[in-house]
């Protein structure tokens, strides 16, 4: 029998989509029965009280969590998001409801043994509720009490060989698309570099030392399946330098209707017979493709590698063989001075272990931003404040046309003193001798 009446939430059990309300109720029932005979370390009815406080929030149209919360484990400055209910007497089960961020494996591949291990810890020491996964990538264990934090951390590290994720003004948990594990578009091993850099920068991840948060994300190609260009301060997006590989026989097979365009992604509606000219050649943003006499050709020098033709005909067109990545910087959400997507910094960089070239870019950026970034200023804002030119300087990058979408339209152009003959020293007297007042 449910502890609280939840008429509003009950509505959300209707409909075809998996209902989070039904799921939480199931967990509440499971904890009430306790068939496993667990000695629950936090209130047994924690999920009931969560539903209760959520129902109240639905009624009041206001959150019922207090402001902030600073909890954690010794040695780390982040990883746990403290949370307290503002109605602790009414809902004692969620008086403490801290969130533990657990570092996920790259690409989020699991075996059941591992997930059972996580849940064994969490059933005993937490609410039994999770978020799989947080938007940054972490496994999120949702709701426990302060005394359990060190216990959970001990069991995660000692039994599951797993660490916490990041929170606070530091390097947050890096994430990647699933890359070469099962995608023919992946231009580099996103999982390998995500894993390697997560390990290399453990210190930066666990102990906040930055002006503000900083995120890495790794996309295998410009499709952006982990949205690195929008959701990471340092975005690595795979690409290639040489020609798109064309299998003309398979192009013919697409034209003949043997292969479905976009691997059948639009088969839910009748879009007519595949028309390679209308759907591929004419859609190419640089118009660098042609289809004549049953032969598809691409003028690589004018291809911007937008992925469209590969996406439409994955069986016929393949990424080049000379692969690497593009580095883009500065994406952020609106606060404080407006949303930003990342700006292109390095057009092409090899992605090979031990990733020294990429790490050099990262560390040069950190050296600059850690020194110059203001309190709570994202990299994207520091770039705006000090100028893109400054970012080029600190990363020893030569300015190229690819750094801009369009050249500046205003004439407020700064020059360095040593670029200008005579420098800035002004000879007032000499000037007046030639130009009378």
């Amino acid at each position: 029998m449910a502890k609280h009446k939840t008429p509003l939430l009950d509505e959300l059990e209707k409909g075809p989509w998996p209902s989070f309300v039904s799921d939480i109720k199931l967990e509440a029932e499971k904890r009430a029965k306790n068939d496993a005979g667990l000695d629950f370390q936090i209130p047994q009815d924690c999920p009931d009280d969560l539903l209760g406080v959520l129902e109240l929030a639905y009624k009041d149209k206001e959150t019922h969590w207090k402001h902030g919360g600073i909890v954690g484990v010794f040695g780390y400055g982040g990883g746990v998001i403290g949370r307290y209910c503002d109605q602790p007497e009414k809902f004692p089960g969620v008086a403490h409801f801290h969130t533990v961020r657990v570092n996920q494996p790259a690409g989020k591949y699991y075996n059941t043994e591992y997930l059972r291990g996580v849940m064994d810890i969490w059933d005993l020491r937490g609410s039994g509720l999770t978020n799989m996964h947080g938007s940054t990538g972490d496994i999120v264990l949702l709701g426990t009490t302060t005394p359990q934090l060190e216990e959970i951390f001990h069991e995660l590290t000692h039994n599951l060989n797993t660490d916490l994720g990041g929170s606070g003004s530091n390097l947050r948990t890096p994430a990647d698309c699933l890359g070469q594990s099962r995608c023919e578009f992946a231009c580099y091993d996103t999982q390998a570099i995500c894993h390697a850099l997560t390990n290399d920068y453990q210190d930066e991840l666990h102990r906040p030392a930055f002006p503000y948060k900083f995120k890495f994300k790794f996309d295998g190609c410009p499709n952006g399946c982990v949205a690195s260009i929008a959701r990471s301060d340092f975005s690595v997006i795979g690409t290639w330098k040489d020609d798109i590989r064309i299998d003309q026989d398979r192009v013919k097979a697409y034209v003949a209707g043997e292969f479905k365009p976009n691997a059948g992604a639009h088969s839910g509606r009748d879009w007519g017979k595949f028309d390679i000219v209308a759907e591929v050649v004419n859609r190419c943003p640089t118009k660098c493709m042609s289809y004549e006499d049953g032969k598809l050709s691409i003028d690589t020098s004018n291809c911007t590698r937008c992925m469209h033709c590969l996406n439409v005909m994955p069986a016929a067109l393949k990424i080049g063989l000379e692969t690497g990545a593009t580095i883009l910087c500065g994406a952020k959400a609106p606060i404080l001075d407006g949303a930003q997507m990342a700006s292109m910094l390095v057009p092409f960089i090899p992605v090979e272990e031990p990733y020294d070239e990429i790490k050099e870019v990262i560390e040069n950026i950190w050296d600059w931003w850690m020194e110059e970034g203001k309190n709570r200023e994202r990299l994207g804002e520091t770039m705006k404040r000090q100028g893109f030119q400054k970012l080029l300087e600190v990363t020893n990058t030569k300015a190229i046309p690819q750094h801009v979408k369009a050249p500046r339209a205003n004439p407020y152009i700064f020059f360095k003193e040593d670029e200008v003959p005579g420098g800035w020293k002004h000879d007032e007297k000499g000037y007046r001798e030639r130009h009378m007042r």
Binding site: K66, H67, G68, G69, I70, V71, G72, V73, F74, G75, Y76, G77, G78, I81, G82, Y84, H96, S167, G168, S169, D203, R207, P208, A209, F210, P211, K213, M370, E371, N375, R376
Partner: protein
């Protein structure tokens, strides 16, 4: 909120054990906090961090950025964690009586 009593003093604290009022800070508070923050013995280096945090807070009304704390005290972040295992925010600021760090933590 909770009231803590220790060695004849009372402290008004929040759930996370931060002082509600900076003015309530006193020597007894430092002694009271050190156990829960995993500190055995208070060294002059602990003092240096606490003193700087308090001076900075009195002067500027906010806690200093980690980089400034490191620069002024001369302690690398690693050493600050050796002194205060839960870090400069949860450990040192709490002990110095500064308000709880806020924001996206």
């Amino acid at each position: 909120m909770a009231i803590v009593e220790f060695k004849g003093k009372t402290f008004d604290v929040d759930e996370d054990g931060f002082l509600q009022k900076f003015e309530d800070w006193c020597e007894e508070w430092v002694e009271y906090v050190k156990d829960s923050e995993g500190i055995k013995e208070l060294s002059p280096e602990h003092r240096k961090v606490i003193d700087f945090l308090q001076d900075y807070y009195k002067k500027n009304g906010i806690a200093p950025m980690v980089r400034i704390l490191s620069k002024v005290t001369g302690f690398k972040l690693k050493h600050i964690y050796e002194l205060f295992p839960s870090g400069p925010g949860k450990g040192a600021c709490k002990m110095a009586g500064l308000p709880k760090p806020t924001g996206c933590v």
